[in-house]
């Protein structure tokens, strides 16, 4: 008898590959675990890779808590070119020459972006205003006023400066658009920038190290699949489940 006969339940950590939407990953997991009840706790853009938290079965009740956790990412910004979506998936808006910058100058600019602040979501985002998704409006060339959201950038560290590419680590609150941070950094440096790579490395206490690729998951037996699920009580304090 297969272990999938009872409805599976738990938290699954997936290393999302580039090119898939977060919802594509949800679909694959639905098929693997043979249940409709699968959700995720925080979108990764198609271009981004790394930790995607999936909630299987009754674990979907932990979604609000898991979504509210702080995130860490490794990323890469390319200076000198801005795009309409602020990342490499968008269309080019303009190019500007990249000045001779020292790592110290970039670090100093990054330091000014730390702390509590309001961030205006990009037009190319799934956030809804008046029932309409912003990116749907953006595709029609419409730009509307967006409500700035409270965020905190806990740390923003330069890993490597290899012109025109800036590699960085960032630790921020939920709802922070890293591509907007990349865009803002470009504006601070005067040459513009877009986010050219992004990898989520953790969300709260859950780490990418413990995530598995879709390929590897696909090769597991039903029993092994069930064994991959982390029980909700191990990842979420009971008080957060109300």
């Amino acid at each position: 008898m297969s272990a999938l006969n009872a409805e599976p339940e738990g938290i699954l950590l997936v290393d999302k590959p580039q090119g898939l939407t977060s919802h594509d990953v949800v679909d694959r997991i639905r098929r693997l675990y043979q249940t409709r009840r699968v959700g995720h706790a925080g979108t990764l853009d198609p271009m981004a890779t790394g930790l995607l938290i999936l909630l299987v079965g009754k674990a979907t009740k932990a979604s609000q808590y898991l979504m509210s956790q702080e995130k860490t990412y490794s990323g890469e910004a390319t200076l000198g070119m801005t795009t309409d979506s602020q990342d490499a998936d968008g269309a080019m808006v303009e190019t500007r020459p990249v000045p001779d910058l020292t790592a110290e100058a970039i670090q100093a600019a990054m330091k000014t972006m730390l702390g509590d602040q309001y961030q205006t979501p990009p037009m190319h985002s799934a956030r809804k205003v008046g029932g309409k998704k912003l990116y749907e409006l953006a595709r029609q060339g419409i730009e509307i006023a967006r409500e700035p959201r409270f965020i905190r950038v806990e740390s923003f560290k330069l890993l490597e400066w290899n012109a025109p590419k800036v590699t960085f680590d960032v630790h921020c609150t939920k709802g922070t658009y890293v591509r907007t941070l990349a865009y803002d950094l470009g504006e601070k440096l005067g040459c513009g920038a877009h986010l050219s790579a992004l990898r989520r490395t953790s969300s709260g206490t859950l780490k990418l190290d413990h995530a598995m690729s879709l390929e590897k998951l696909g090769s597991l037996s039903p029993d092994e699949l069930v064994a991959r699920l982390i029980p909700v009580h191990q990842a979420v304090p009971s008080i957060a489940l109300g």
Binding site: S68, M113, D116, Q117, G130, R149, R152
Partner: protein, 304 residues
């Protein structure tokens, strides 16, 4: 000023448990050695000068800050204007600047995460060292832990913006409040049986949009109320600046032009759009019952 000064220094946004511990340290020093409990803080917040595009949104404005500092024991408050010049002061020069500015200064009290001087180069340890030669005593006060979390202004801002009002209030000790003058409304509430008072209030740090159980404090009386802080998606076309509206559950409602304080006690639900006024009306009735429960009003009390 001739009395010895025991000075608490910091940004003090919120006057939370950690800030109160720093003030307590200054109060103890004043009790032991005699003298005044003073506070040195900055106006505007340094981030408004150093990075105006991404300035830290303040939990409270200056009036509320003064009110809470006084309540926490400050007898004398100095708001130092934060200027680019001041920001350029080397950390090593800070203690001498303090001594020259406040000649009777005797003890300094700061949180253990206090930073000062150009590019925040000075910390608690360096303040200790640099102050000794000037005869100043420095007390570093540990951060306060609440359960698993460290109490901080930053955590409170996040909690308020996410609807974690209970956590924010615990950290603040005195509940979160809005203060302002009642403005004219569109008088739509009274047509559906829930007249409201409307507060003109635009905080830098915006709490989560939604419905709250509150007390409206008017001329020294606390009136239980249910409040909505939001953009009123059911009655407005498109996004507008959020408005704070309160429906008084018991007692005489204040009127337009009156100054009130709204004390936020429980977060009930997030703001949502209803298909019509009847659906909104039904939900407000539920909110009202919930708010009454939160505020300890029994079911048989008649609202006058």
């Amino acid at each position: 000023m001739t009395a010895p000064l025991h000075l608490a220094i910091g940004a003090f946004d919120g006057i939370h448990l950690g800030h109160r511990a720093v003030l307590h340290s200054a109060r103890q020093a004043a009790r032991t050695h005699g003298g005044l409990v003073g506070v040195l803080t900055y106006e505007p917040h340094p981030s408004k000068v150093l990075r105006p595009q991404a300035a830290v949104p303040m939990i409270f404005g200056q009036a509320q800050k003064t009110d809470r500092l006084t309540e926490a024991g400050a007898q004398w408050i100095h708001y130092e204007p934060f200027t680019p010049d001041h920001a350029a002061m080397p950390a090593a020069a800070f203690p001498a600047w303090l001594k020259q500015k406040f000649p009777t200064l005797q003890t300094i009290h700061v949180g253990d995460n206090f930073r000062y001087g150009h590019q925040r180069a000075g910390d608690g340890q360096s303040l200790l060292q640099n102050s000794q030669a000037l005869g100043l005593t420095v007390r570093l006060v540990d951060a306060v832990q609440l359960g698993q979390e460290t109490v901080s202004s930053s955590r409170i801002r996040q909690a308020l913006s996410q609807g974690e009002l209970a956590l924010a209030n615990q950290m603040l000790l005195r509940p979160y409040e809005a203060e302002g003058v009642i403005g004219p409304g569109r008088q739509l509430g009274r047509t559906i049986g829930f007249p409201t008072i409307n507060l003109t209030w635009q905080p830098e740090l915006q709490p989560a949009l939604g419905v709250y159980a509150v007390e409206v404090i008017h001329q020294g009386t606390a009136l239980p109320a249910v409040a909505n802080f939001g953009q009123r998606p059911t009655v407005e076309n498109g996004p507008v600046a959020p408005l704070l509206e309160a429906h008084i559950l018991r007692g005489t409602a204040p009127t337009t032009g009156d100054r009130i304080r709204v004390r936020w006690l429980n977060y009930l639900r997030s703001e949502q759009k209803f298909p019509n006024l009847a659906a909104l009306q039904a939900q407000i009735a539920i909110d009202t019952v919930q708010a009454k429960e939160c505020l300890g009003l029994t079911g048989d009390v008649v609202t006058r």
